[in-house]
């Protein structure tokens, strides 16, 4: 909710110029300090617990992260002053805590844990997010590139299958090797897919929802409208089969089904989509031995034969369970557990490592922080006025929730364990960078959602130019090519997000498929 629209009674004098009264984002600043204090506190405790001193590079990390937080905060103040104030501190909290955990694992001599590298990627990711916020002034620009983005996403997904470029790690072919770095293209592809779906669905949702035949009471889309969607479905199946990665496949497919539902409001399609995935997964289970192994260790992880199996056994998940059980209600404390015994405790299994050191209390807190980020993202989707923005923000928030569900659900045995990473916590450059880009986009959209428009005056209310189109979302389309005067006019006539009644009476331009 905009502060301004709350403070000032409706219809007061002339239109208000929001820029002159941009909020100071004091709440965000305070929360950032709290988040950093928690993270640095953890880092210090790790050092004292393991070696009775501050960990190496403690002050570097403090300095770098504080500087980055300050930078991000200032960038937001300048370029997205109305953006949600909780998202950045929440993400910062998760990121600094993961730095403390990875430092702890590295101090315990765990191979592969590299706090320095994690800090480097964190810095790069935040920098990229800031640049994105500076460059991308309006998220609607992205809509222009709907099909370019689709092609790019497909290329990214296919990359790991190219010989020499693709790398198979732990049975899954989801990495590519670029200049000595292992990257997971799927992490970036999920953003591109969200952009593509948003652009495609906002243009075609009416045809999709209404133009088809009715079968058994269920409205089916026409086949020609379904083309791009089928392409994506094929891609997600290909990921499952070719790259042996159930998690990524589930992520893409869930994203697609979720956004299709958002756009078309057809619950039946969700059911169809989910059954299609179940069928695909079942077929994969009957055909592929590695999928069968995953299911087997999901059902009976404590089976001694499965624990001892050298490849594809349940050792990893069982160690995670042992670690979490050891943590119990309140955890062993920072640096006090044996989390370095959990395989991949710094990446795929970092959730279990937190469970061991911070206990159930810590994990529930972490889940709540994630929930806050996701709900703020959905909140931005509800608040923003254009259909593309709604779909994009909704999709990005949902894909983060879905990724969390797949990762944490895998570790806590709700679903079979897959190779996805915990956003902002797991060590790994692609995941960090991609998720910070998601955050930048959500912040950008939430800024648009919460930016107060000029309040209509009495005179405007008296003469409503009623030319609203079929779209109920009432977005004001300002294309990138629009003149400055157009933009100003659009801003003047933007409805207040807090007042839906007002929304009905302001001039609305059709948001139909004019760009599709």
């Amino acid at each position: 909710m905009s502060m301004l629209s709350e403070k000032l009674p409706q219809g007061m004098q002339d239109a208000i110029q929001p820029e002159e009264n941009a909020p100071g984002r004091a709440a965000e600043a305070v929360l950032l300090v709290v988040a950093l204090a928690l993270g640095f506190g953890g880092l210090a405790m790790v050092g004292y617990s393991l070696e009775d001193r501050l960990p190496d590079g403690f002050w570097t990390e403090v300095l770098v992260l504080s500087a980055l937080s300050l930078t991000a905060h200032i960038v937001l103040r300048i370029r997205a002053p109305y953006a949600d104030q909780v998202i950045l501190p929440a993400v910062m909290l998760l990121n600094t805590m993961s730095l403390a955990m990875i430092t702890r694992l590295e101090m315990a001599g765990m191979r592969g844990a590299d706090a320095g590298r994690h800090l480097m990627w964190t810095s790069l990711s935040i920098a990229v997010a800031c640049v994105l916020l500076l460059v991308l002034r309006d998220h609607r620009v992205l809509r222009k590139y709907t099909y370019t983005v689709m092609v790019a996403a497909l290329v990214l997904v296919i990359l790991p299958l190219i010989p020499k470029l693709g790398q198979e790690i732990n049975g899954a072919k989801i990495w590519i090797n670029v200049a000595g770095f292992s990257l997971q293209p799927a992490e970036f592809a999920k953003i591109l897919f969200a952009v593509f779906f948003a652009g495609y669905l906002v243009a075609n949702r009416d045809t999709l929802a209404l133009a088809g035949k009715k079968v058994l009471g269920l409205q089916l889309p026409r086949l020609r409208d379904l083309g791009p969607i089928l392409v994506v479905w094929a891609v997600s199946l290909m990921v499952l089969v070719g790259q042996k990665d159930l998690g990524t496949s589930l992520l893409f497919f869930g994203l697609f089904v979720g956004m299709l539902y958002l756009a078309t409001e057809r619950g039946g399609w969700v059911a169809i989509g989910m059954s299609m995935f179940v069928v695909g997964a079942f077929v994969a289970w009957t055909i592929f031995s590695h999928v069968q192994a995953r299911v087997e260790i999901w059902l009976n992880p404590l089976d001694p034969e499965l624990i001892e199996r050298e490849f594809g056994g349940s050792y990893q998940i069982v160690q995670g369970m042992f670690g979490m059980a050891f943590g119990g209600m309140f955890g062993a404390g920072w640096g006090e557990g044996y989390s370095s015994r959990i395989p991949f405790a710094f990446s795929d299994m970092i959730y279990a490592a937190f469970g061991e050191e911070l206990g159930l209390t810590g994990l529930l807190a972490i889940l709540l922080v994630y929930l806050a980020i996701v709900q703020r993202g959905l909140r931005a989707a509800i608040g923003v006025r254009d259909g593309f923005g709604k779909l994009l923000a909704g999709g990005l928030a949902f894909v983060m929730a879905l990724q969390l569900f797949v990762v944490v659900g895998g570790i806590t045995r709700v679903i079979p364990l897959t190779g996805l990473t915990l956003p902002f916590m797991a060590q790994g450059g692609s995941s960090l960078l991609a998720n910070w880009i998601v955050i930048a986009l959500l912040l950008r959209i939430s800024d648009a959602a919460r930016r107060p428009s000029a309040l209509p005056t009495r005179g405007q209310l008296a003469t409503p130019p009623m030319n609203s189109g079929p779209s109920t979302d009432g977005a004001i389309e300002v294309g990138p090519g629009a003149s400055t005067a157009d933009r100003a006019a659009a801003r003047q006539s933007m409805p207040s997000p807090s007042d839906e009644v007002t929304q009905m009476h302001v001039p609305i331009r059709n948001d139909g498929g004019d760009q599709a």
Binding site: L262, A325, F326, G355, L360, L364, L367, I382, F398, R413
Partner: protein, 507 residues
């Protein structure tokens, strides 16, 4: 789209709820089970690294944790690293290995040693408030180092065990198992080395004597505490038990006459069991008193008695002594076995008759045999054996003390008195004369149990002293210690060992 967004928001909430429940399930509901899982080494890591309390024998800390500079932070040291002393106490202390194997008090008193027992809550609360590192408690044992050492020395190179109890309280004064092992070799901080050593010890089974020179090995490794974890046929020591059942039935007194033929044919089998050495029990007599039957360890009389008391009477007495149960001293002891009692061993009349002389599928641990003597010594009241005298917290304050408790009352005091008289006869004028101590009245019973398969017999002695004011009850077993060249082997070999232990306890 706002409607669908709100619905999606609800779906997201539900997804998070599932994750919260599943996380709680593992960390709270399932946690105990997972922590106790045999493959979970976290507990061991924590317990090894913690300031684990000492195990105290007499005035000495025989097991301590000393700080060292490695990943664990502390090293467990047994008997100051002295191999001989560490072996002496190994059946009591056990060991605490990095690979997850534990034994003895290190295992069964772990909650105290690691400072996590519920009775230490005040200590725990203090540590929580002051931020001090939790310290384990010290476990004071009932072992008397003098008796323990005497029993160890007296057993010499035999494979076997010795147990000494205070019959009035049940306190275990000595518990020796031979051959033993050095727990220090299992306390090293290298899983690989520990695994190798452990496997080596677990496979080291002492060779046993045979009458045809064939190479045979004990079923028990050196890691087995033969005093409580091994069962043997009690042989003639079980005649105390059979006599107890006979007298308790009301049909017999020590003066009752029982048949004593030289050779007794087991009912419905055609198999004849001879008396020891093939002699009349009392020369020229085919009927002798029960007391004489005990004194001379007369097989034929007890085979007959076993049949007379019958399966029900024998089984009832076995249960009355709680020999069919496993006890916690606090180490878990193995239960004894009797034909047909919770097992599939045949329980026909001939098997019951055989059990009358402690053969044929009746098996007891040395601790149980000692408890039998202790019950007689204590006027028929069987005390619960225990090894922990008290628990002291890190400030050396006693937080828990074991109060002696009655385990059972299997026989009346008059039966106990009668048995005492009969057992005195064994030592004064029977098969156990080698256990006589000048100036002290000793009650006892020898035992020579056949094992079959060319294995030499298992030799026993059990008894107590002084008879007017019993201070100690013992059992000595020499596993297949018999030697065909020596007659009345248990009297010759086991009784002198028992004598030395009794002397150490009384002297």
């Amino acid at each position: 789209m706002n409607t669908t967004l709100r619905r999606l928001s609800t779906v997201v909430m539900a997804m998070f709820l599932v994750l919260m429940v599943s996380t709680t399930w593992i960390q709270f509901v399932q946690a105990g089970e997972l922590n106790d899982n045999g493959r979970n080494v976290r507990k061991i890591y924590r317990d090894l690294g913690a300031a684990r309390g000492p195990i105290v024998v007499g005035e000495d800390n025989v097991v301590v944790s000393v700080p060292i500079d490695d990943a664990y932070g502390r090293q467990r040291v047994y008997a100051d690293g002295s191999e001989d002393l560490a072996k002496l106490y190994a059946p009591i202390t056990g060991f605490f290995a990095v690979n997850g194997n534990t034994a003895g008090l290190e295992r069964s008193a772990n909650d105290y040693l690691s400072g996590r027992a519920d009775s230490l809550w005040l200590d725990q609360l203090q540590n929580l408030l002051t931020g001090q590192e939790a310290e384990g408690s010290s476990v004071d044992t009932t072992i008397d180092p003098k008796i323990q050492q005497a029993a160890w020395d007296a057993l010499g190179n035999y494979t076997g065990a010795a147990v000494a109890l205070d019959p009035r309280t049940g306190a275990i004064l000595a518990m020796v198992s031979k051959p033993s092992y050095d727990p220090n070799s299992l306390a090293v901080h290298s899983s690989g080395e520990v695994n190798e050593t452990y496997q080596g010890l677990a496979n080291t089974k002492p060779q046993i004597n045979t009458d045809d020179g064939s190479e045979q090995f004990s079923p028990y490794s050196v890691l087995t505490n033969r005093a409580i974890d091994a069962t043997y046929p009690p042989g003639s020591t079980f005649k105390v038990f059979t006599s107890a059942a006979a007298i308790e039935s009301g049909d017999f007194t020590p003066d009752s006459e029982v048949p004593s033929p030289n050779g007794y044919e087991l009912t419905n089998t055609g198999t004849t069991i001879n008396n020891f050495g093939g002699y009349d029990c009392v020369a020229g007599k085919t009927k002798i008193t029960l007391a004489d039957a005990m004194r001379t360890s007369c097989n034929s009389s007890y085979l007959w008695l076993g049949g007379q008391i019958g399966k029900e009477g024998m089984t009832d007495m076995f249960k009355a002594f709680r020999f069919d149960e496993s006890l916690e001293v606090p180490m878990g002891t193995v239960a004894g076995s009797y034909p047909g009692l919770d097992n599939t061993n045949p329980d026909s009349v001939d098997r019951i008759e055989l059990s009358g002389m402690g053969q044929g599928d009746v098996k007891l641990t040395p601790l149980q045999v000692a408890m039998m003597s202790a019950t007689v010594a204590n006027g028929g009241t069987e005390m619960k054996p225990y090894l922990i005298k008290s628990i002291r917290d890190s400030e050396l304050e006693v937080v828990e003390k074991t109060n002696p408790s009655t385990l059972a009352n299997p026989i009346s005091s008059s039966t106990a008195d009668a048995l005492t008289g009969m057992m005195i006869g064994v030592v004064e004028n029977g098969s156990g004369q080698n256990a006589q101590i000048p100036g002290v009245s000793v009650a006892g019973k020898t035992g020579t149990a056949e094992n079959g398969g060319h294995r030499q017999p298992t030799l026993w002695f059990t008894g107590f002293a002084p008879t007017d004011d019993p201070q100690v009850a013992i059992a000595v077993v020499l596993e297949n210690g018999g030697n065909s060249t020596v007659d009345t082997a248990s009297g010759t070999l086991a009784a002198p060992i028992a004598k030395k232990i009794l002397e150490a306890a009384i002297g």
